[in-house]
Amino acid sequence: MSDSTKPILELTDVGKSFGNIHALRDVSLSVRAGEVTCILGDNGAGKSTMIKIISGLYQHDTGSYHVCGEPMNCSSPRDALDCGIATVYQDLALVPLLPVWRNFFLGSELTIGPWPFRRLDVAAMRRIADDELQKMGIKVPDIDQPVDTLSGGQRQVVAIARAIHFGAKVLILDEPTAALGVKQSGVVLKYISAAREAGLGVIFITHNPHHAYLVGDHFVILRQGTLDLSSPRAELTLDDLTHHMAGGAELDALKHELKRIDAPDVGAVHEKHEQEIGS
């Protein structure tokens, strides 16, 4: 947060193609600590490809990718994780039937004792998981309950808390509010801003401009694999964002077209319907 001018993660003119399909072309992005960068875009705009490059699942073909000034060539999610880039996927990478604390430490278990007798430090893991969740303001009734008995929002928060606990500098959230109701989405948005206050760089992928505008500091809109908009919050209103997101000029044209073709018919139907009700 102290050095908010220097990005902790930077993509410059990054491109990626699959065969003859350009999934991503000349996309630049910088993520700063203590900021929420929102990536918006329609289905197929290249959001997923972009996160997969950032989180190490894909390699980029062109351009450069730097983390803390160092060129980044992660070949696996594990490498990205070691660089402090944690991704919370839509499916949350939680194992439904495992207890909350086992999920929390999955893949990074704490152990005690010398080798043949090395065992899980169950007491410590339960305590830490409980503490970290409380810090995020969520209190699970029983840290031993399977994760699939939690609500969607709670599960999201478990995944976020886990990423923060394991030293994430950059937190990538892939459509965290997509499958949630209004109230649950609010809960998740609150934790996104909590993560920002904790000094993390947050990349928030969504196709909901309203959610994005509530927490975002910088907005990036992708369209057909290219950068459509990249703008700080100060230069943008919610209306601008919604307009851009909804397709901007394309939508205007569509609106115009719809008005010309459908308006009379729709009107006629309505009038007829009202008459029927009236009589």
């Binding site: 303001g137 934790y191 801003s193």
Partner: protein
């Protein structure tokens, strides 16, 4: 800039128990002890074990004697040792249909290595272990590399081993059984380890019962108290999620197939040193009994759920059934029917118990 500003290092809004995310803490109360007990994977099978015991205790007079108890335990132990490996593998989300003939493959290999190469029994046993582990590795490697269902891979392995068992035995020895090796170096000590009996309170107990208990204890410890155990549950529960957080899912699965192979070697050695010769056509069908034991013990068919103790109770039920049918004077052909019926009741009961107990 930010829409909600709050002091750093603190959640955006102070958490209070009334406004916990998910909205409704009051609706989610701690599940009662009885409920949590009832959701344990073993509970259904424990009830089943008591019921089966009561049944044979009532209808079969010889079943009530201590001697028959040791026979039941012995039958259970040979199923149970395999069920340890098979249940771990099943919790890890995979099957091994080659486990039944794998036992015989290992025993035949041990017998033929010892006899044909005039090796010390222990050297031959070590070579047989190598053969078993190689089969297990192949199963696991093919499953994780091809991403085909383990059902198909191990079915192929099962059929191939069945053929090889018969063909190689006939080719090497000219008969359908492995040569008798009871007069060879090291046989006595190997027999002590794999197939001896000892007496407790006037009852002869097979040493396999002790091994069985040891393996179940070890597997339980690994499952519940080690990293690897966590990985096994995660690999079976949701392999993609596990991989995303850095769990070596492929190594875990290959390791599990090799664990089954190790158990197959162990039971194979027991067979070899009990009878000193092995019939090459045996073992077919046993793989399903091991799987039945694991499922009756509460292991989920699709993985991610179950315990080694549950599988042990499942093996005990099958052992009681196997001997109980004989003691009750019923047609021994009914054993398979009994297993089928038990399995059906167990899976229905398990599902019912779990659904009821998980309802909040």
């Amino acid at each position: 800039m930010a829409t909600t500003k709050s002091p750093p290092r603190k959640p955006a809004s102070p958490p209070s128990p009334e406004t916990v995310p998910g909205g409704t803490p009051a609706r989610v109360t701690q599940r009662s002890l009885a409920r949590r007990f009832a959701t344990r994977p073993e509970v259904g099978s424990l009830v089943g074990a008591v019921a089966v015991f009561a049944l044979f205790f009532t209808v079969a007079v010889p079943f009530r004697e201590f001697d028959s108890l040791s026979t039941v335990l012995y039958a259970s132990s040979t199923i149970g040792i395999m069920a340890v490996g098979v249940s771990l593998l099943m919790i890890g989300g995979e099957f091994d249909l080659s486990a039944g003939v794998g036992v015989i493959t290992s025993a035949l290999a041990g017998g033929m290595f010892a006899y044909e190469l005039s090796l010390n029994i222990w050297v031959a046993a070590a070579l047989a272990l190598g053969v078993s582990l190689l089969i297990g590795f192949l199963n696991g490697y093919l499953v994780v590399k091809t991403k085909l269902p383990s059902f198909l891979i191990t079915l192929s392995m099962f059929l191939m081993l069945q053929g090889l068992n018969l063909a190689i035995t006939r080719w090497v020895t000219g008969s359908v059984a492995s040569p008798t090796i009871s007069d060879m170096d090291g046989y006595a000590s190997a027999q002590k380890v794999f197939s001896s009996t000892f007496t407790i309170g006037g009852v002869n107990v097979q040493i396999t019962v002790l091994w069985w208990i040891l393996f179940v204890a070890l597997a339980t410890w690994v499952l519940l108290r080690t990293k690897v155990g966590n990985w096994i549950y995660a690999a079976g529960g949701n392999a993609d999620s596990a991989r995303a957080v850095g769990v070596p899912v492929n190594y875990t699965k290959i390791g599990l197939f090799m664990t089954v192979a190790f158990m197959a070697w162990f039971v194979g050695m027991h067979n070899l040193f009990r009878f000193s010769t092995v019939q090459s056509g045996e073992g077919v069908g046993n793989e399903l009994i091991y799987i039945a034991a694991a499922v009756i013990g509460g292991c989920a068919l699709m993985g991610g759920w179950g315990t080694a103790i549950g599988a042990a109770i499942g093996a005990l039920i099958l052992g009681m059934a196997q001997q109980g049918v004989v003691y009750a004077g019923w047609n021994p052909d009914l054993f398979m029917f009994f297993i089928g019926a038990t399995l059906l009741v167990a899976v229905v009961l398990n599902m019912w118990v779990r659904l009821r107990a998980q309802r909040r």
